[in-house]
């Protein structure tokens, strides 16, 4: 028996996350910020909102004026005016008085609550009946209730979703400092691999990994730089890696599951200045022959050539490193799965973590996970898959009907 790898577990691989540092930053317009990672903390420079405002269409009142009112015993209030949207009301609300106000209108002085128009009836031009009492503060957002002046509303390292983009606008930020989107070079290796445009002869297959991995880089919010195919040749591979390292923030080689190419990859990494081989083999399946090196402080990966293995390793192993160089505070987002029950027994070897592709099937009100047990060279299993389940290294297998957690892919 030959042993090609010094296999380590996943935690050990994650232990290398801090060996890498985030990329530099740039300023983007707030309208371009969704999907980016904040590189600065954002403060509220004034109260948000800056004034107490109505959350309903109705009447601004002193809450006490409505106390005890009901359908049977309405309160009668005198309507003394209206609030104009976007303007400061020039009116004060006294006891027994009401001022018309629309959603978002500024609460007039004296008022501390809003009666919903649905709970009132106009008696005449100057008088309303109120059918329901309101508490002080009801149907009102107070000045500073969303965020008070000076509050830090977002921390650096935060992924900007739509809500955070809205918040940037709310605190007056037309732009924000974000981390640059990492540029990630993808190189396919293997003498049997040919470009998509060519018709494969016997023994040849088209380059899939350049496309699927570039797609995963894009889905991860980064910029893929697919370089195409490099032949299994030390000098060519070395030159390609040098160029890739000079021009991008991470390099992903794939292919090279065969002994020869793996050796090339290791030799090339060792030949580059300031290089350190960090991982050579991980106790996972698929994906055991994965390589991670640091070259000039940048991560260089050797992923398995099988399309499924490469994608699974990208999802579970590479992605946290992408998040790290992208400046994210949360390196393992989206790791909470969808619950389902297995449709059949799944065998698994002890001593390694198995990732099983599954398809989700709705069975009445139950969600079932059907394992897709095809070989890891078959892309159809990834195309059919909705997600992955993880079988930990202490488990020999999972039984039919057992609850599992499906990580969407």
């Amino acid at each position: 028996m030959q042993d090609f790898f010094k296999v380590v577990d996943i935690r050990t691989v994650y232990g290398h996350l801090q060996a890498f540092t985030p990329v530099d930053t740039e300023v983007v317009a707030t309208h371009q910020a969704t999907g980016r990672v904040l590189a600065e903390a954002i403060d509220a420079t004034e109260d948000l909102p800056g004034f107490s405002r109505s959350t309903m269409d109705g009447y601004a009142v002193r809450a006490a004026s409505s106390f005890g009112s009901s359908e049977a015993n309405p309160a009668y209030l005198m309507v003394t005016g209206s609030v104009t949207m976007g303007a400061v009301p020039d009116i004060t609300v006294g006891p027994g008085e009401a001022v018309r106000i629309a959603t978002g209108g500024m609460l007039p002085a004296g008022a501390d609550a809003v009666v919903m128009v649905e709970h009132t009836e106009e008696v005449d031009a100057d008088t309303i009946e109120v059918y329901k009492s309101v508490a002080p503060g009801q149907h009102v957002i107070l000045a500073g209730e969303d965020y008070p002046e000076g509050a830090t509303v977002l921390q650096a390292g935060r992924k900007i979703r739509a809500a955070e983009t809205g918040l940037l606008a709310a605190v007056g930020r037309e732009s924000a400092t974000v981390y640059r989107q990492p540029l990630i070079t993808i190189i396919s290796t293997g003498d049997e691999v040919i470009p998509t445009a060519q018709v494969p002869g016997p023994g040849q297959i088209r380059d899939i990994n350049s496309y699927s991995l570039a797609g995963m880089v894009a889905e991860a919010g980064c910029r893929p730089r697919p370089l195409g195919i490099v032949r299994d040749n030390f000098e060519d591979l070395r030159q390609a890696c040098r160029d890739a390292l000079a021009q991008s923030d991470m390099v992903i080689l794939s292919g090279g599951s065969s002994v020869g190419t793996r050796d090339f990859t290791i030799q090339v990494i060792n030949s580059l200045p300031d290089s350190e081989l960090l991982v050579h083999g991980i106790s996972i399946s698929p994906g055991k022959p994965t390589i991670l090196a640091s070259v000039g402080g940048k991560p260089v990966w050797g992923l398995p050539g099988h399309v499924v293995s490469a994608m699974v390793v990208f999802e579970k192993i590479v992605k946290p490193f992408i998040n790290r160089i992208h400046g994210r505070a949360d390196l393992f987002p989206g790791s909470r799965g969808i619950p389902a029950r297995l449709t059949r027994n799944v065998p698994s070897a002890q001593g390694r973590v198995d990732f099983i592709r599954v398809r989700l099937i709705q069975d009445n009100d139950k969600l079932k996970a059907e394992p897709l047990l095809g070989k890891s060279g078959l892309i159809n299993t990834m195309v059919q898959a909705d997600g992955l389940i993880e079988i930990d290294s202490d488990t020999e297998g999972l039984d039919k009907d057992i609850p599992v957690s499906v990580i969407p892919i």
Copy 2:
């Protein structure tokens, strides 16, 4: 009591999905296809793979030559040559023979299985010991096993993930016909709303919805066209809507929760040619005063002005319509939630569907959902939220510790 709406339930709103048709199509390079929606069916024009290939480094053999072998009683095979990667082997494997082969190599004539190198030992230059028997087909992907020639590998209407991008490359497609990314105009209304760049005076607030809704459009894989703020003025709003309809595939107005603006929105929609008001009020909270119209066959929305209401309605109501005009076959993807348990009781009114913002909290090995019950005008509750839970219209409320399903946002 005044009734402004003719409130309908969510299913009735979804019943209008088929009133709209997908946008036109365009051809994109496969490397740009991730995230797009296929507008054509994709066929395999040849077997994938085109030949039987090894999935392991080892030796191509007749499986029968290995039968009965074990560590104690190895089989001895004669090594007659090697398979060159990417080339047709010029050798035939006979009984008792083995040919060196790397992962991805083409199986030579006569061989029907591969023995892993780990289960062999070289005795001399021409002989190996085999310690483990293999079955016919083992460690081999057969020609056409991934997809046979002529198979339809992807259907029109399919969202292209990384796996599907890889599959396009695998079947030789350098480009694909996809639906154009819908262009969606976003208009904020309200006299109290000012541009982000300005400092709000008393009674004024900055435009948030233009930013958060544009972010959600981008997250949904479409192109946002934020038009900024239009004042509460019939002619201005009408002109803005006409321009928006001429230039984009969907129009989203927000703001206008106040009676006056709502009336403007309805009046403007009614004034436009070929317009039909489809929905005016939905039995959901937040989001009741939502408007949907068809104008010239394009969806026009009037969303509530409160930032949370607008985002919730976008997520639950607008998105399926975006998927529809984007040509997706699956209009309700991602509707499977993450299971968690409520940290406290949540009240809910019968007769409407309530959407509650929640934050997910990991509590040892349990995931808890903490309701964020702030007013729907407060963006901080969306910024804190990890997702939404749905309380259906027949339920009065949910008790602490009850299992819930959290839809990520």
